[in-house]
Amino acid sequence: MELLRLATAGSVDDGKSTLIGRLLYDSKSIFEDQLESIEETSAARGDEHVNLALLTDGLRAEREQGITIDVAHRYFATPKRKFIIADTPGHIQYTRNMVTGASTANLAIILIDARKGILEQSKRHSFIASLLQIPHLVLAVNKMDLVDYSQEVFDKIRKDYTAFASKLDIGDLTFIPLSALKGDNVVDRSANMSWYEGSTLLHHLEDVHIASDRNMVDARFPVQYVIRPQSEKLPDYRGYAGTVAGGILRKGDDVVALPSGFASKVAKIEQAGQEIDEACAPMAVTVSLEDELDISRGDMLCRANNQATPTQDIEAMVCWMSEASQLQEGAKLAIKHTTRWARTIVKDLRYKLDINTLSRDESATSLTLNEIGRIKLRTTQPLLADKYSRNHITGSFILVDENTNVTVGAGMIINTK
């Protein structure tokens, strides 16, 4: 069974919680005690209906104030796939939350209220999905029951959105007309929209092809931990533990260790102590080399003829996530890239991006909470980097405030020089 990670974006008003509730309920992933508990809470709050939003609003403040503070994770499975939902609130702090919830997503669902069409918020969510390069996007046109299941309404939304999306870098885009409340096209095909010939939402989630989204070409193995038992039985064992970040690593492959550039061959690949012939992302394995090289955490094994770029200068899109501070030219921060920490200085804020209009403000001098911009960084030691578009693992980094230790920025590498 395959694992699919999906992110949902939209506000309570779009019926997002109802949609998640429907997916969980119809796949039998809501339990009776959970349902009873939210029924009681709904009644105590004086809600007219059982409020399915309470399923995802886990914290006391959220239930009391009827708001969603943070990313909630939900799980459900069908016989075909296991799903992890990162449910991100649509309104306040949307950018920070959506980036947090969607960074590892295979697919994002953006909800649109059929009565309202494409809103600013839908554009923001779409932009973030394209920034994070989520491979698959679903535009779920919800509340079709409130527009008489009209094909015209759906077609207009599709046309409007397609025009807008042409400005963005979106891979696979699917439109589904549905009613989360009534259940049309969520799990079961709608009898009310015979004009729609595509898949139901669940069917699409089960069938969308995600295996080829992984980079199977550029072998990248960031060394995470060096295993040296130095025991009587294994006096000379030296294995490099890590998780394959891209490509395929095979026994006998010619590899180089970055940043030193020393060459060797893969002598052995082990998974949990068992020898295997090859490994691909996202497998956690241990690699032994034929030669004894000085390799430590933060180094990277690549194929001799296809290497990441060691660089101290990177250009990236960055999303600022701190309320307490701003990103400014000259700021010094800690940076984590794969398994390597370094320090960095912001050399240049090229522009700030208005995520509603996609226009660039080149006169901007700072980024504040939830703002996105293009920056140049200089690091204290080389990062072993790829472009984010090529590899999400070797192309991403986080920025950390050295005084508070809080994660303040998320970066996606555009250029490695």
Binding site: M1, E2, L3, F31, E32, D33, T41, L55, D57, G58, L59, R60, A61, R63, I69, D70, V71, H73, R74, Y75, A77, R81, K82, I84, R96, V99, S103, T104, A211, M216, Q224, Y225, I227, R228, P229, L234, Y237, A241, G242, T243, I248, A272, G273, I276, E278, C280, P282, M283, A284, T286, A334, K336, T339, H392, F397, I398, V400, N405, T407, A410
Partner: protein, 301 residues
Amino acid sequence: MRTQVSHLQALESEAIFIFREVAAEFEKPVLLFSGGKDSILLLHLAVKAFAPAPVPFPIMHVDTGHNFPEVIEFRDRRVQETGVKLIVASVQDAIDSGKVVEEKGPNASRNRLQITALLDGIEEHKFDALFGGARRDEEKARAKERIYSFRDEFGQWDPKGQRPELWNLYNGRHKPGEHMRVFPISNWTELDVWNYIKEYEVAVPDVYFAHKRKVFQRDGMWLGVTEFLEPQEGEVVEERLVRFRTIGDATCTGAVDSPAKTIEQVIEEVGATRITERGATRADDRTAEAAMEDRKKEGYF
């Protein structure tokens, strides 16, 4: 080409990555071990993460003193097999030294008292990272918790001030006295755990399978008669075929009626059940709707 990665392999790899990341970046990690299936799974994954070297950190059992004897036997056997160092943080010691006062009444539980024993253990050994077996599918407060969950010098969780967690870039930086709770199996469900136990032949204590036990009913749960827990007046003891879905303090962990004697039968039962595992079996989570959130804020697992 072996490029298909199953969901269990993906979950295993994610957990192993987290174990290695913590071992590399923290001074003194420790794995919280209760003898329940989730902590057994954690130890199993930790052994895999560092093979063929031994697990590079100890395990700590926060011991309420109200144990199932089978579970303690199981714990000691695993310690011997893996060669891992065991530390016991005792709630009984905290009571004896007067640090905490035992609850009274028929529903008295040492569950809350574990917080003191746990925090004392952290302070004494200067642990800076604690692996826990919590899963996000268990409970709604946990559904919102990060994999690296930051705790201040009082061990408190601040749900509104959590660090953003992106890609697989975990930020474990902290100041002296602060620590991180780390949950490598956050993304596993109860069914994933059982499917993994089956596929990789992970041993678990016998109490997870159907057996005859003397039980009585309280708050709609079957509680076992033990030396620590006697039925009150009006509570009738009967022998039933039961099993445990979770294992915690013996005084507040309920058994469920079940004929499931094998892993396959357990998986079938878990797949068909309509009640969450904590809802069915944990008296401590039923006290208030936000019971778990409140305990977590104070420093609970």
